[in-house]
Symmetry: C2
Subunit: 148 residues, 2 copies
């Protein structure tokens, strides 16, 4: 597995160990990980700290020049919010672990010029399939779906 | 002025008093303000706490049923990230103070079924025009534009 996607998957597993939603993300600039994040809905009672948002927040205030050379990795297809954050900062490339269990606005993101690569890695898929089966209510809350 | 837009404008002015970027937001459910927020890029060193994001975070973990009855107010046209957050949570209506100094992906948001109302309030416009004229570098950073 791509070592950066592996790092995002490690973040996802850290989230699971914290009894959180197991989605992880890393931001790479010039071949180095500059920030790592994972979903913190449960841990922080957060409505906005999806993995990619947590990662971008931990990266801190970067310049447009920094973002223009960056690659955002996520274990799962970015939702509307996280895709929007990538569009705001003109992140040119997103590598996605899988889009089998959830699919964000991929066509729209591509139409805005972002290179979106879907790996569909078996470990990423298995991690989310297991979580969704065991915690459907939490999962629906995280993607803005009715929970009952 | 609509009292909820007035409340968002008060948030924007609180941000300015904190030497931050003067954009404010409130979330209204069933005729009551459930959360208020303002841009915290400067105050918190944050890359994600735009006014609407701060407001949604302060609202806490809501149900899809809560969001489905909500109205998001912002003093400024929501950017890609904040529009995406509203789409994730299926917020059906957004009231925007102004879109003269900045315009987010309004057509796309409308195409996804959101009712987007642009007020173009003179106080909201004047506040942002003044800030952008005095702090162009900060402003460009906040909207992902080159700062030099």
């Amino acid at each position: 597995m791509d070592p950066f996607l592996r790092a995002a998957l490690e973040e996802a597993r850290m989230g699971l160990q914290e009894r959180g939603i197991p989605i992880g993300s890393v931001l790479v600039i010039d071949g180095e990980i500059v920030a790592r994040g994972h979903n913190r809905r449960i841990q922080n009672g957060s409505a906005i700290l999806h993995a990619e948002m947590d990662c971008l927040e931990r990266a801190g205030r970067l310049t447009a020049a920094d973002y223009s050379r960056s690659i955002l990795y996520s274990t799962l297809s970015p939702c509307d919010m996280c895709s929007g954050a990538a569009l705001l900062y003109k992140i040119p490339r997103i590598i996605v672990g899988e889009n089998r269990t959830f699919q964000g606005p991929e066509s729209y993101v591509r139409s805005r010029g972002v290179e979106l690569e879907i790996v569909n890695d078996p470990e990423c898929i298995a991690l989310m399939e297991s979580f969704i089966a065991n915690h459907p209510t939490l999962w629906n809350e995280d993607i803005g779906q009715p929970t009952c």
